[in-house]
Amino acid sequence: MMSQRSERRGIHLDQSELLCKKGCGYYGNTAWQGLCSKCWREENQRERQKQIQEDWALAERLQREEEEAYASRHQRAQSQPTITPFSKFEERKTKEKSSKVNTVTKFFTPSAKTPPKKDTTSFDTQSSPSPSSSSSRHPPADTDHATREFIDFLKPLKSGREIFKQCRAFTESMVYKRDMGADELSECVQDFYQNLSDRLQTQFKGSTEHVESVMDEVEKYMMTRLYKEVFCPETTDDEKKDLAIQKRIRALHWVTIEMLCVPVDEEIPEVSDSVVKAITDVIEMDSKRVPKDKLACITRCSKHIFNAIKISKKEAASADDFLPTLIYIVLKANPPRLQSNIQYITRFCNPSRLMTGEDGYYFTNLCCAVAFIEKLDGQSLNLSPEEFELYMSGQASPHWPQGAGASSPGSAALSQVHKRLDLLTGLGERQDRVIEKARQLESDLIDWTDEVEQKVQSVLESFPQETHNPTATTASGTTSAAASAIDSDNVENERLPPPLQPQVFAG
């Protein structure tokens, strides 16, 4: 495949060569051996099966290592063992463990499912987790990092050990469900969240903030690990929707601020600055893994929008100001994998944040913006259906002067455009004038050079022979005398270079 490509280097590729090699009609991709994503997935089903098995082995190993890491870390944190009814219970539960280990270790050693031979490593008093946990075949560093952070967060909680165990077990069980439909996966995760938060609610005696803070960390840990499996999963048409909205936004490139009634004035530097920041933030959403972090990008984007509105309007933004502006920002940004990100957040975000929280409000508005963009027609932009068609097909653009159409509802936008065009024409004329003047100056300069040349020539002709000096030394020897002769009335100028007039020399 690659060699074939290089042979044909320099030859124009026709459309068929860009298509999937399976002939399904989609575009192929060199990264997928010339197949489209769909065919490539099918092709790779078998290989993936193997991969799944490997992953499982790795997961098992990691599970052991995490247990150890947890045990050793927790041991340090709780160097003063407190004998509570709970720990006694744990003691009974782990009675099958070696009787030599002390209470603290027993308390935190993994349950019977994990091999007891590792117990000794739990005594490791080093600050790093067990030494065996660093290996080149590890998952990406951020996954490890997330695990460590999660453990550190749970450390002070009495039930931390239990929460960690359940989250880890659940997360691993999810890896096997990757062929399950996205909705089912989502339901599993949402069930888990609800179940856990209900129990925490009981445990924390109704302290909602506390439950939420634990749930945030749970979400972070789980979704960092599951991201690859459940973001834009193959079982959905998320990818197709991403491409569709991307194309749609590109086709709407001509939509102006005026058509959307966006209450921001980008001529104000601080406003255009906020607009740029809002665009950056909404684009950045795609780079985050955890739903909460993605939401934070949308929230930051929204705050920049509010700032832009507030400066432009000198009034706190209402929903009627905010939504059109958000639509405008989305159109300008064309955020990558927009639908996948929305779906991912909807499926895997902690539900309470989405339903009643501030982040949820902005997220809902983003969903509204996308729905609006998908459905919008001439009417939603105050355009006639004809105008809308012309703009969509690229036969006309609101940025061009259009004489006849100026009486339409979009005339405010058009007149603005006309004004700008007039300004541009004026600038063009001024530039022409500048160029004209420059040309004039140039020719004047040439004339002047010619004139000087002529004059010099004529002077030279009137004194033809005497300019030729016999030797250089005589010339330098005599010029000083000559200089004083001509400038005798001007003593200060004695040091000036010798004048060039040959007639003085002759005298």
């Binding site: 909680l157 339901e187 599993c188 507030k310 939504l323 059109p324 339903m355 409000y361 509204c368 609006f372």
Partner: protein, 220 residues
């Protein structure tokens, strides 16, 4: 509805989502700004935005977090309504008593909400700007009897004079709490049972339910 709060705990915090609906200029923004920040037509605003506001309340010893969602009211955004009011516990439908059309719009909203969300949502119909009673174009009797006929409650307010607003929100909260409690009773004893009856993962609790004395949280 799930947003009504989780857990069968007596000292839990309720979280409610309330959407604001109504035609442009009826005073939706003015009502929430008056309620949450006690401001009216304040040009020296410190408020960055008036589209999402929250209020914490304590009603008969129960904590309530109220999230008030302003919605874009322009006609071209009408189709987006369901995205906004999905999962909401209450809706405040505002009209301007001097504007007959705005009352008609409220009727349309009621129909749509009942169709989409059934009786789970608490509806409030609010006649705003009662300080302009001399220009009233919607009769009190008509408005109140309409509200009753659709199972909504009617309120008279003035954002300008700060009249009727506290009552409106307090009453709405009480009604939403009743709805949430009724739902809990219906589900049996709290949400934990409802959660485990859902398909999917089962969390195996290999930890005794009796947590140790001295609290279960020692963070800090």
């Amino acid at each position: 509805m799930a947003a009504g709060g989780t857990g069968g705990n007596s000292n839990k915090t309720y979280s409610f989502k309330v959407v604001l609906l109504g035609e442009g200029c009826v005073g939706k923004t003015s009502l929430v700004l008056r309620y949450c920040e006690n401001k009216f037509n304040d040009k020296h605003i410190t408020t960055l935005q008036a589209s999402f506001l929250t209020k914490k309340l304590n009603i008969t010893g129960k904590r309530v977090n109220l999230a008030i969602w302003d919605t874009a009211g322009q006609e071209r955004f009408h189709a987006l309504g369901p995205i906004y009011y999905r999962d909401s516990n209450g809706a405040i439908l505002v009209y301007d008593i001097t504007d007959e059309d705005s009352f008609q719009k409220v009727k349309n909203w009621v129909k749509e909400l009942r169709k989409m969300l059934g009786n789970e949502i608490c509806l409030c119909i609010v006649g705003n700007k009662i300080d302009l009673d001399k220009d009233r174009h919607v009769s009190v009797e008509e408005a109140e009897s309409y509200a009753e006929s659709v199972g909504a409650k009617h309120y008279h307010t003035s954002a300008k004079l700060n009249k009727g607003i506290e009552e409106l929100f307090l009453d709405l909260c009480k009604r939403m709490m009743e709805t949430a409690q009724a739902e809990e009773r219906l589900k049996g004893n709290g949400a934990s049972q409802s959660a485990s009856s859902r398909r999917g993962v089962q969390i195996v609790d290999d930890e005794p339910q009796a947590t140790p004395a001295g609290g279960c949280c020692s963070s800090g």
